[in-house]
Symmetry: D2
Subunit: 280 residues, 4 copies
């Protein structure tokens, strides 16, 4: 009971993890850990689960079976510095608490995201939203230079407006989406896993993926067992449709009697596999 402290997480407190050219993710504080999730689950499931299962098995069971409420009991609070283009994507994850620097109250610092040369890419041809092949080196260098000059020019104007006494809320209207902003972001682990699932994906914009990875690494320290199960069942698992399920069922049946030895699966994984495909 009482406060939960995790040695590995303590080391990360207040450390700015660099992301992109000028951004960071910093763990301000965390609330609870794997053992809190287990403690909350045992309120629900009572004596029935108290003695036998170990924590790791219980957490794996909860995650695999969408018993999500115990994962809401743990929270992480991040301080994030990122371009507006990233903050606009992150804010769409609504079940979280957020305090962002306000350009109405404060003069925005003239810091903007300048992509590196190898980030300057063609529009993807295989998906409608992403980046494809890189530009050639000379063109990429030119683009980077242009981005930077454009940012300098815009901030120069902005600062002149501010000095002229213009209302901050108006002076900022032409600031670019590359402008760095900062915010506090508190989110529970259940909702963070949804965020990570979507934003670690290869279809997510490369910039937000860098932030998702930084957070993922931090949260691995806060609740390692939960993150192992997340890795196993969600991040590196796969969802199969009804027709695909039938096909795979047949393919598995064709293999004859399966054992942990000939399948290379643990006894638990094998049993679970057969159950999932109606082959018990």
């Amino acid at each position: 009971m009482g406060h939960k402290r995790v040695e590995e997480a303590e080391k990360l407190l207040d450390v700015e993890v660099d992301v992109l050219d000028k951004g960071f993710v910093r763990l301000v504080d965390y609330f609870g850990d794997d053992s809190r999730i287990v403690e909350a689950a045992r309120v629900s499931y009572g004596k029935g689960t108290k003695s036998k299962r170990e924590d790791s098995g219980l957490i794996d069971y909860l995650l695999k079976n969408s018993h999500t409420s115990p994962f809401e009991m743990v929270e992480v609070l991040f301080h994030i510095k990122a371009p507006l283009v990233v903050s606009r994507q992150l804010v769409r994850h609504r079940t979280a608490s957020l305090n962002e620097i306000s350009g109405r109250y404060s003069v925005m610092k003239d810091e903007a995201y300048v992509p590196s040369k190898d980030r300057v890419c063609k529009q993807a041809t295989n998906n409608k939203q992403g980046s494809g092949d890189p530009f050639n080196c000379v063109d990429a260098a030119l683009v980077v230079k242009e981005f930077q000059e454009e940012q300098e020019s815009i901030f120069c104007n902005y600062n002149e407006y501010i000095e002229s006494g213009m209302a901050r809320e108006l002076a900022r209207i032409n600031l670019p989406l590359s402008t760095y902003t900062e915010w506090y972001w508190k989110i529970d682990i259940n909702n963070l896993m949804k965020f990570l699932y979507l934003r670690l994906d290869s279809h997510a914009q490369w910039e937000i993926r860098q932030y998702a990875e930084a957070m993922y690494n931090i949260v691995k320290a806060v609740c390692p067992l939960t993150m192992q199960s997340f890795d196993r069942h969600i991040l590196n698992g796969v969802k199969v449709s009804k027709a695909q399920k039938e096909f795979i069922k047949d393919a598995i049946q064709d293999l004859g009697t399966l054992t942990p030895e000939n399948s290379g699966l643990s006894e638990k994984d094998l049993k679970d596999l057969l159950a999932k495909f109606g082959l018990e």
Copy 2:
């Protein structure tokens, strides 16, 4: 644009679909349909998706890839009559709006859920939460009779307290969980699918499953394409873990070159399957 009307859904408006011995689900109203989901998605994805994809394919793509926000644009409003034991489970789905009859304002009707004889089951041995084998017929009949007599006795006391002028909020404290209550419940289709996924499952309590099935049948009329995709990818699909994915990948590879002909899968399903298992 404007109001969306679906012929099949219109027929269901205001019809009480019987559930359990005295309960029902009634579609009070619905807001939007499959075409509204498509319309909302095309705001996000713009011209890029406008011409080519048909509605059905777009909805399938959205659902498969967890682009959930367009599904929030459609709402259904149900009037539900169910025992307290069911309402307590349903209310845990928080992203919904609810107005329930209040036992502080109103005198509760003396209606309680009496299970049928074949519902009187043993505790399951294979899972910790469910029902297993049925009781023998004589014992079951006895239990049903006892339940009913107990309910009658409790309601008799309750009604006496009410007649004596006792505060309703206090008179009700011994009413049983089998007491029928009623409520309005408004939920968007995205959150309804989460509800259905959990409450149509064989691990859900049998009583709430009856309500989930009644709602599922109604919503199939409101947004048939969405419910087809839900059936395909979520309800009858399966999630496979990292280790299981590796195993299945090998099993698929062992089958040699796959074609729609030898696999029995559509071209799209096959391509998608190979992509999921990293076999492109």
Copy 3:
């Protein structure tokens, strides 16, 4: 029962109400009306309230006493076109559904918000976030021209990047906060009232206030009784602190015996006033 139609609201369907220089608010659809709120409330409060109170009185009672759940039963769906600087504020109202045009999928149109001359103001001196006195006419005209030229220059670069085949998600990073974006926004009336309370306030940024006012006018047609109560109790009411309450109590007591005649208040308002200040 069944669908709710309000004549005044029907006229507004699909009409683009102009906001700022290039934006609009359009009512795409609405779900329910005042009578739905009453219907839902009567589920909760049962027979006890059925006959006597008229709808208007019941709605007023609900709103005044923070019985908010019936107001969640009505939804409005807007199509909004507004600058990014406004969309960033609106998206902070989380209990709503949103589909916004994605600059990753689509090429952004070169439309940006250019404030009018009389909107070019000094930083407020009496509050830290707002706008104060206007600029003189010559300076304001110059600022407007500069904003516009800067926008043209940025969009010129953006379009060149797009033509060069650069990934859209990257090409857009220097687009200004004045860029117009579009989205579908669905929100229930309870949460819309919270939005309106905050964004119709004189401390809200002038630009978002224009959108809030356009929505307010539309919603007055959808649920006129609710909006009357909102106007009466929330928008034009006032919250008084503990110390201020004591002071006002004394001031009221000093006035001697109050009647509807000498107070100018309706009987109901007077009774309610005395009750609020503990003067019954």
Copy 4:
């Protein structure tokens, strides 16, 4: 930065505060304190507020002006034991995390709420939902005895069903609403204040008010400055309608020129009062 500890709150950790005859509220853990709220607010409002305002003034300003997001940054985790009739009311506060003991997994303990004699009251005549005058002593004693005997009888049957091997999810259907249940409940301070505002009110059921009071006392130790502001502006403040505002404005004007001396208000409260009523 880092973990927040409040001496007064530390003393309350893991202490069961008795509520009703067999229930309790226990603070399991808390996340953040007043200084975290200030820290988060200063992210939003930046340098502009950094130096001058003291914490107490800033918190008061935030609460008075509905800047609610910083209050979401602090969380409390309670372990609660209460009758089902109370848990059914508490669960309606949706923006919270909850793990309740499940009667499907566990055998429910035979503990039920027995009201004390002086709690046995008549239906209120002045409001439709509450309790009014107490019963006479003899009748009340009889009612208490009847409640208890009815509970004993129901639990006796329940335990027999359990011993007969009946599925727990079915055996429980006649358990009374007075049955004690337990749950973990995590909620942020912003949402807790909404809960307290509604459930400390004299119109709330007496039983849930006892739980609200226990929580209020605990939270006063976790964030004393926030709770002072809550007491001042929300709990003991009052909302005045448009017509009442006009009336009070006139009453205040009649008093002539006000000063801190003749009004008894602090300079700040007086200035704020005049501003609220448009009398600056």
